[in-house]
Symmetry: C2
Subunit: 419 residues, 2 copies
């Protein structure tokens, strides 16, 4: 099924917001087997939006997904544009109006008069319930030159768009595929894309017909998505599981999870399963590890807290790092990293201590310790472990890579302890 994505909004065109919807939709549509040919952003003009839908149709797009411009204000013109492209009038629907009004009232608010337009839909279009907002989505179908075409219209507010896609649109697209599309995503940390691809070269080359493998790298992590397309669901599932399990077998502990898990959530779960609590001493990461660990709801049961020690005095006063050690070895050293991890553990009453000290840059490097030099340390009372890493000259990149590497160090150490 070929697809075309149309994002509507002056604010996207003007760069006032980044189009994260396009990335999310691109990935999700690929997973359900849509072959996205173009992704296009246009401004809030009826003629321009309708023209873009007509052009996608002329290009043979079997699916057009339109996001944005479904709100109640005068610059929300997507309903009118879709009606024009399909040459069907807009109709006011009482049942949509009632649902929208009830939603406002459930929140103790009165529906504004301008909200009435959200109850309009082009004749023949199905309204899709919006679980997270007022404006319903729309699903329309037609025949063009003997080919069937689906046009899906959803709000631009990301969590509303996602909710409608996940509840209605994606499952329905899966049903409409000729056959089935299934996928599994393995999450890895600790190796780059080229190392990973070298490790699993045999499995990747030996994938049976109908299976494909995609690498999705980000800072310090690589996701591997295996997709199976076939006629028989059972056979596709069997092939997918066999291939994914084989890759997982080769990668071993490089894989930290599957699907939409995050490294920080996995680490928190591992701590919880082992009845452990963690404390962090951060120097070069400046609070980024703590921010990531606490971004997961429920972190308070496994995370005591942290000390961001940006000065030698703080390392000494709050983490009990001996000034003589800093003097002798330097603040960026194995000895100081280990002392910080031990200090965080002791001072915050934690089972596990994690520490970072390094030169984030862009300045502050020396020949021995260039910018990007980072020491990580782990201490759980029984085991002490320190690792030296060498990253880039970019401050933000170094912080992100150090943060991922530190969380992965904890994960690897916890794997050695029974859950």
């Amino acid at each position: 099924m070929t697809g075309h994505l149309l994002t509507v909004g002056d604010e996207i065109l003007l760069g006032q917001i980044v189009n994260t919807n396009a990335a999310w939709l691109g990935e999700r549509l690929a997973e359900v087997g849509v072959d996205l040919r173009r992704s296009e952003t246009v401004g809030d003009e009826v003629g321009v939006i309708a023209g873009a839908i007509e052009r996608a149709t002329a290009d043979g797009a079997a699916l057009v997904v339109v996001t944005g411009g479904l709100g109640p204000t005068h610059d929300d013109v997507t309903r009118a544009a879709v009606a024009q492209a399909f040459d069907r009038p807009l109709e006011f629907r009482d049942e949509l109006f009632e649902r929208i009004r009830a939603r406002y009232e459930a929140r103790g608010r009165t529906m504004p008069e301008i909200g009435r337009v959200m109850a309009e839909a082009p004749v023949g279009f199905e309204a899709l319930v919006n679980p997270k907002g007022s404006a319903p989505g729309l699903w329309g179908e037609r025949e063009v030159d003997g080919r069937s075409q689906v046009v899906v219209v959803v709000p631009g507010v990301p969590h509303e768009m996602r909710a409608i896609l996940e509840s209605f649109v994606l499952p329905r697209l899966v049903e409409r595929q000729d056959g089935v599309v299934l996928s599994r995503t393995l999450l890895t940390a600790g190796k780059g894309e080229s190392d990973i691809s070298a490790l699993i070269a045999e499995q990747a080359d030996g994938l049976p017909d109908g299976l494909t493998l995609a690498y999705l790298p980000s800072l310090g992590e690589v996701r591997l998505r295996v997709t199976a397309r076939g006629v028989d669901r059972e056979a596709a599932r069997r092939d997918l599981d066999a291939a994914t399990d084989a890759i997982r077998g080769v990668l071993g502990t490089l894989v930290f999870g599957e699907g939409t898990a995050t490294l920080e959530a996995v680490v928190n779960d591992m701590l919880r399963e082992r009845g452990l609590r963690m404390a962090v001493a951060e120097s070069c990461t400046g609070g980024a590890i703590s921010a990531r660990v606490t971004s997961v709801s429920g972190a308070s049961s496994v995370f005591c807290g942290s000390v961001v020690a940006y000065s030698n005095e703080t390392k000494a006063d709050l983490l009990d790092v001996a000034p003589a050690t800093i003097e002798a070895e330097g603040a960026v050293s194995e000895a100081v990293a280990l002392a910080m991890a031990a200090g965080a553990r002791a001072r915050l009453g934690a089972d596990v201590g994690l520490a970072t000290t390094g030169i984030a840059g862009p300045t502050g490097g020396t020949p021995d310790k260039p910018v990007g030099t980072v020491w990580l340390a782990y201490d759980d009372g029984d085991t002490q472990r320190a690792v030296r890493l060498q990253f880039t000259t970019d401050r933000a990149v170094n912080v992100a890579l150090s943060t991922t590497a530190a969380l992965d160090l904890v994960r690897r150490q916890l794997l050695r302890r029974p859950a």
Copy 2:
């Protein structure tokens, strides 16, 4: 000048990376007066890319900016596509080859054989030096139906794309405008878009001809961009400065800076100018304030460090918050916030203490203190100040809003002290 932006790359279409280039270019092109009509992403196929350029041309685009697909690998086909769209052959240029080869050698590397293609350009195109990478940009011009058209081609790597735009492309586009386009951007924190627009309604309504005002909101901050278009540079500058200064006058201390400044960099600079150092005690923000302050190079001269106190024990042990206070008032309270700020200041030897305590959510709220309740506190020894805020039910949003509000609280307090 009407414009069309074309992003090339399967990885963008598949959602493997977010197209931040489109937002950056959208904003910069708007600043220099380009009226961007469409922004489009297509895959790595010669015919599809050439077709998109032809379609933009048919739509009358005076400027087409193409990003991506200029590297040395087999899926980098943008050079060939542009040559096809312009119906001009590619030629190998010795001077480009020498520059690319010298760049590799300056880094102690040998230019790979596949790198030769980066020295090719369509006949008649000007090569634009890439200050940050190997592949040069391209600038081509032609007449189409009596109208002149410019096609600019730049790499997709963000810092390379930006460098070429800023060095060559944007200045040249400014020169080509009929007249001049100038802009100033005011950065505000502490009020939402609707409050700001109500405050400056008179100034906005009274903008002279040729001046426009755009609101660029993000979490906790609103940027106001004033743009002046005119024939006479001096007159445009005078109008722009008068209008912007008038708006700045009304908004007063809501404005924290101009241009590309950040709130964290402004706070760090204010601390530095006053010879002060700051320490932070974070509960609900979980390290996000520290991460933001330390994202600015040179933070170590004004930032002692922080304690992320996720448990009551840590608040007591490392920040000297009296357990009786927590018992009596609750961890999310004015008294605890103030005690945390004082504790951070004292224990880290700082001049200024900043603290947050709140219920980030999505769970943990009570009728008295619903999810999104946040206390912020500031303590510089002379002045103690606490603020209660009520945000949303979304954890990530609450952390981001609390972080911005906390930094803005420090800024406002420091404004009262002489620099």
